[in-house]
């Protein structure tokens, strides 16, 4: 029955509803109109209304007569209109503000991607100041802007500003991508700020690393911390992780750094007399950089320090670079005659070793063989600066000062002479025919 009544009521009211305006406010006004008409019949009430209107007119009248008053009235009217509109359209205004701030954030991001740092910072600052409703499609727009601002500040070297922006970031609810950025930036800012206790920084970094394994920035902070604390092994370990996680374009540099760190640690261990550790580091170096020279050089250094110069010479000989020759020369200076020349040539079958041989023979006073070795070296190597320098030294050792002087002069002259057409272009280092 009730349903039947409802259906009847709907049917009766339907034409009226169809005639009513669509806007709910106009409908309210329409509904209110009969009530007001009824109220108009009530004299006192009307009186009150009229008096109120008169009162208002009395206030407005003087204002309407002056320009300033009229201006004030226009301003007040416009403000009231705007306020009413905003109140009436508040949902849409909220939505529009959110979309607008998102649009501004996009502009800022575009400027950032387009390397327009100034414009990007300006726009992000406006986004970061925003306190209105957040856009549904990206509710973390303010935090993102704050993070970007912190990043820009760090890039510009303004650590305090960066910290300020980071401190304003509301963390709860942040997506993990932004969290990662925040942790990275905070670590970096704290590290650069320099007043934070290392323990605090380490704790932060380690917790960040637990959340984001393999994060190169966090690993870099941990590596720097370990280095500053003198914990070389740990630093090396972090650096190895960095190498594993680094972007391909950065990997060569990080790899180089890892090798340098291992090498430095090995040298430090050597100087400290910790030969076992140095040996381990040398092995590690050879694994980390199998084609490089530093591992073998360090192994050789360890052998040299442990008084096994022959083994050291063998290892240096395997290094196919001038550094290996340098070390052999050093070794022979410290341990003259420890290696037979024939052995040395077999262990280090490079043409450069002939120079070492010539010099060692000259030092040992074996003049004839020294001369012959010098001759062989000169023929094999040609008149390179090193060849000329060492041969001049050999000549001095053989007591032929004038020839040595002449050789040096000729080498210098060769550097000053313009190469002929058939000569190689890279003559600066290689010298010419002396």
């Amino acid at each position: 029955m009730a349903k039947l009544g409802k259906l009847a009521a709907r049917g009766l009211l339907a034409p009226f509803k169809a005639l009513l305006p669509k806007s709910p406010w106009l409908r309210v006004l329409l509904y209110a109109l009969p009530i007001l008409v009824v109220l108009a019949f009530f004299g006192p009430a009307l009186e009150v209304v009229l008096r109120l209107m008169e009162f208002v007119l009395q206030i407005l009248q003087p204002m309407l007569e002056t320009t300033v008053g009229r201006i004030l009235l226009v301003v007040a009217l416009l403000a009231l209109t705007a306020a009413i509109l905003c109140w009436l359209l508040r949902a849409r205004v909220r939505e529009m503000r959110a979309e607008a701030i998102l649009g501004r954030h996009l502009f800022a991001t575009a400027a950032l991607v387009g390397m327009n740092r100034g414009r990007s910072r300006e726009q992000f600052q406006r986004v970061a100041r925003y306190r209105g409703p957040t856009p549904a499609r990206f509710p973390h727009v303010v935090q993102d802007a704050q993070l970007k601002l912190a990043r820009l500040a760090l890039e510009a070297g303004d650590v305090d500003d960066a910290l300020g922006w980071l401190a304003r970031v509301v963390e709860p609810g942040l997506p993990k991508e932004l969290q990662r950025s925040m942790l990275q930036l905070r670590l970096e800012a704290l590290r650069r700020q320099g007043q934070v206790l290392p323990a605090t920084l380490r704790r932060e970094a380690e917790s960040a690393l637990q959340r984001f394994r393999g994060d190169v920035v966090v690993l870099g902070v941990l590596r720097d911390l370990s280095e500053s604390e003198g914990n070389v092994d740990e630093a090396i370990s972090w650096q190895e992780q960095i190498v594993a996680s680094a972007a391909p374009s950065d990997r060569p540099i990080e790899q180089q750094r890892a090798v340098d760190m291992l090498s430095d640690a090995g040298q430090a261990a050597l100087e400290a007399g910790d030969y076992d550790r140095a040996r381990k580091l040398a092995n590690k170096l050879q694994k980390a950089d199998p084609t490089g020279e530093v591992g073998l050089l360090l192994s050789g250094d360890v052998c040299r320090a442990t008084n096994t110069p022959r083994k050291a010479a063998q290892l240096y000989g395997k290094v196919r670079s001038p550094a290996g020759l340098d070390r052999i020369a050093e070794l022979l200076s410290d341990y003259p005659g420890v290696v037979e020349i024939r052995e040395l040539l077999a262990w280090c079958p490079m043409q450069g070793i002939l120079l070492v041989v010539a010099r060692e023979l000259a030092r040992a006073g074996d003049m004839d063989r020294a001369k012959r070795a010098a001759r062989v070296a000169a023929e094999a190597l040609g008149p390179t600066p090193t060849t000329c320098a060492v041969l001049a030294e050999v000549l001095e050792l053989l007591g032929e000062q004038e020839k040595a002087t002449l050789l040096r002069e000729e080498t210098v002259a060769q550097q000053l002479m313009r190469p002929t057409a058939h000569a190689t272009s890279k003559d600066d280092g290689a010298g010419g025919g002396t």
Binding site: V74, L345, L381, T384, T386, T411, K426, D427, G429
Partner: protein
Amino acid sequence: MTLALSLVGRQDPETGGETAASLWDHLVDVALAPGVVELALVLATVAGCIGTWWRLVSLVRNARDRAALGDYLLGVEQALQGDLAGAEKRLASVLEQDPENHYARLMLGKVLGDLGETERAHQQHLYLQKAFAVESGENELLMARSLLAAGLPAESAEVAEQAMERMPGNANGWGFLYRARLQQGEHKAAARAGRRLLPLLKSAEERRLWRSELARNYAEQGALAWRSGDVASAATAAKAAEALDDQHSSLPLLRARLTGSQHGVPATARQLANVARAGSPSGDASRLPKPVTARPPLRMETFAGLLEPARWVCRACGAPLDRELLQCRRCGVSSPAELVEPALTRSLESPAEAMDRIDVNAAHVGRLVDALRHGEASARDELVALGRAAIPALIDAGAKGDEVVRDMIVEVCHAMGAELLPAWFQARDQHSQRRFWGRGDGPDSVLSAALQRFGRDALPHVQEMMRSAASDHRTVFIDFFLGMGDLDAFQVVLERFPPIDILHRINRAPAPLLETFLHAIPRGHFLVESMLLEPTFYRDEALLAAARRAQDPEVFVEVMLRRGATRTLVGAAIDAIADDDMAPIAARLLEGLGDAVLEHCLAAYARPDVSDDARSRLARVLVRGGAAAAAHISDSFGPEPSRSDDELRALLVVIGDQAVGTLVTSYERSGWLEKVSAGLVSRYNNRRLQISLALGELGTAPAIAALRSLRRDEKDDNLRIHLDRALHLAKDRRG
């Protein structure tokens, strides 16, 4: 407006001032009219509202136009934080949903570049530029980066140049362009980019470093200009470099080169070398580099700071590197290290050989000798330098080798000097002791040739050695003295060695040596009697050869005639008659030797390979042989007629009447078959026919008489006919 009015007033201070004032009053009146200001306010407010609305709408539209917006923003953040894989994935998905999100594409390109996927990165940037017509400096710069990573520095630099036209304030861009140009080897273009970057750098330290870098660049430009001969440009570049950083390590070499161009290289080099030695510059050297006193173990010599103490350089930009880096810090090229002196690390082909060379042991000398045999000049020089140590191996090689090898070794011996001759003989003795079944001529031929090569220089040493000479050495010494052609010196040989030995050696001496010696023998010298006329002297051909160049050939002719017609001499003389120079002597000799050689001459005459000249000369010898020659000729006619019959007959005709008697005798001589056959075998043969013809052709009275006599006695009909014909021919000739 007020300003405008005041300007009007200034233009016409007398009348215009009033006009301006009235206009101003009028405007004030209008403004104060009711509703004007209010209307203006309302209009301004409405305009402001519209403007704000328009801006808001554009922002909103900007946001609403983008799909996958959250992913885009998070992708950008991931890219910034270094999560490249995550960023790539997210940005790629953004582009799938919103392909027109250019900034997402730009960022994706950047991320791909960082991931090392240069081709894909370049594709994204190319899409932006070409497909979407995005004119973005940043996009072009990233495209340039991908091109550089792909190993195309020239193309990269071009694109980067375009990008920097759009964004000249981008310091990173100029830095990138600088690196790209360096990788390309365009130092000038790089310097232009570097100059643009300099004012954009913020910190003083950065600017200082960059000035230093630019100084290197200008120094390199200067070096290039200097190499191409443009000294003026080199000087300009040097000045530019000095203005930027006058202490830069790359400048000393350029300065020194310019100084060298100005004052001469030798003087500058000497000065620099002195500076290096003295340790302090002086005078004009004040602008030259200071000496470097630090001496590394195996010195990378800088030569008074001229060179930079780096063993490695970047293969692209030429910057010195302290070791083998994975990436050049200056130009960014990967695996840049290149050794300044690559020869230092080049492999020794054979360490053992090198050591042998230093020790100069037998193996090394053996190798050198082998190399010498293959014609390597360096081996010769080294063998000469080795001297005494190389001699045994050379002797061994010479003993086994052919003539070419022997000549090479003789050259080496000569280059070593005569003072080492005793060592050569010593080595020869050692070799002889070892020698069992040797190949070749043995070492004596080498030593002999070597002594000849030395000539008179070897005389003191040879005389010294002869005092203790072993009998084995006689051969060499005799050869030496023979080759000297000095009879006074040869006296030593005569005094020391038995004549039989000397004669034996002379018989075996090489022809040139013997000839030289024979030339020296004057007429009437006792050696002629004591040696040349000895029956055991077998070198007649040497005598003949010596006569050729001798000042007095008659000495040898006389000796040869006295020695008589030996087989060797006759053969040599007949051979020599073909030689224009030797022909007179040979003819004279053959004629002088008489009948004994006529048969040999006739045999040579009949040889088909003899030249016409030689044949005519032999014919002359035969003709001079007269009746004896005619006898041999008439015996030379074969059983059947041949072509040579005519020539022989002609010879007989030339011999003339001397031959008639011999011919008749020869005609009448019967063979043994004729004698035993008792007339059964015909007398008619070619010999008799040719003799009859010869007599006919001769046509002299004795010849006719001989023909008649023969006709008369002849019983053979055929021969009679021929004799009749010859008689008619003779008569015709005579008639």
